[in-house]
Symmetry: C2
Subunit: 238 residues, 2 copies
DNA sequence: CCAATAGTGTCTATCAGACATTATCTA
DNA sequence: TAGATAATGTCTGATAGACACTATTGG
């Protein structure tokens, strides 16, 4: 028998519902690596372990589920990410020691610089290299959630450049291409990559240049359409 | 009404959580039309209105969320669909008059014959032509959910043949093609359609033939790979 | 000049679109 | 035979892959 003392906080529908949380997986591109934001849990269960920057849906504060995701990300990074997309909902009796629980997962992207200042000043929030995170022992099923998010990003990279929201506001084509190469785990022909972006007219040329060692590279910015555009033909996955 | 002392089944976390439901959108192909399964609600709220064959996650019965979706579909059709995929989770303060609620939506496909017997015998479960369902006044936000599911199916049809699970176990290429034409809203070149299926080796030729008016057509069956296979190049959407 | 990085020219291979042609059945 | 539907032959066009080439900077 479970405790009855909490019954007074039961909502009016009077049905026993699972714990509901949101778990965003926030990625960025920094030092030529993919990184994921992890948070050290300050309370039970799994206290002390690292996990995703998620939390419980608060029906008094949050208008909808995406609001919860945004709220949690702002709490940990102090900024809203320019890219936030629902990933998958995982819910079962077994995934949380407290009992039946459900988590609505999101994939989010942000420029590293956009939240570096805040993240660097706190010790319980950290950017972790993706490969490392994928082998860490994380809270609950968070390692599995990261793997799902990573796979989704990989698929996306084959037919979209939306992952560019993990870069700084202004970036070079070489940076965007390298990010895609990391995501799909394979080198891409420079010609193919640039051609498709140019033909779909997905980037804004800022006119500025950045130089590091050789010929200066043009700096681009994402067009809003690049968030949703899908190429008809994928890059080669194999 | 079950009066099974709900409070005693209160989970130990003691946090107020939203109502959690599952709403599968079950599609089929029948009489050369896309149809969707609707159910007449027998209880409040929205009693009497038609809606999706969903229901509340029962943490005593269901192991995980997908189990709830399967359970609800079996209750309404008496069979498990061969295709069931999570679609999207919608949750907000406003979508249900009872207050903050969350629904995990699924897209499901089944052969019309597989559940025709059961559906035909009950008056509160009905196959409704998709176009009609999209203009009906349904319970809650179910019309919107159907639109989302329909759009996902449309996208899928451009790079996958998984929608074939809406057909009978054995089907002709003409049937599969027509289903795709309905989904993407445009006629497809027969040559293109057959070529890509043959090259990807996604169907099993049963060796049987079916005839209706002209040369007999070969009957095929889905290969398991056809559930997940993605063509590198999409069909033309425009 | 060289080294390094950015960006282009251009050929090939693949595969969807278009549409004509052939094949196999009934009446 | 004609009519209907299934299945194939074959040409064109679009675009990704491959890779060599040119361009622009610093030293």
């Amino acid at each position: 028998m479970k405790q009855k003392s909490k019954a007074s906080r039961q909502p009016s529908h009077g049905i026993v519902t699972p714990l509901l949380t949101v778990d965003p997986v926030l990625f960025t591109y920094d030092e030529k690596m993919l990184k994921v934001l992890l948070v050290r849990r300050s309370s039970e269960p799994e206290k002390g372990k690292w996990g995703l920057p998620g939390g419980i849906v608060d029906i008094d504060i949050d208008r909808d589920i995406e609001s919860t995701a945004r709220r949690k990300l702002v709490e940990k990074t102090s900024v809203e990410p320019p890219y936030l997309e629902q990933l998958q909902t995982i819910g079962s009796r077994a995934r949380d020691p407290r009992g039946w629980s459900v988590t609505v997962c999101y994939t989010a992207l942000i420029a590293h610089q956009a939240c570096a200042g805040h993240v660097d000043t706190v010790s319980d929030v950290r950017w972790v290299e993706l490969e490392a995170a994928e082998t860490m022992r994380l809270a609950f099923d968070h390692r599995e959630i990261i793997a799902i998010a990573r796979e989704r990003l990989r698929q996306r990279a084959l037919y979209s450049i939306s992952s560019g929201y993990a870069l700084a506001e202004e970036f070079t084509l070489a940076e965007l291409q390298h990010l895609h190469e990391l995501l799909i785990g394979k080198s891409i022909q420079k010609r193919s990559f640039r051609r498709r972006i140019e033909q779909a007219d997905l980037l804004i040329d800022t006119g500025k240049k950045r130089q590091e060692g050789g010929r200066p590279a043009a700096l681009y910015r994402m067009k809003p359409e690049s968030m949703t555009h899908r190429f008809v033909r994928n890059l080669d996955a194999s």
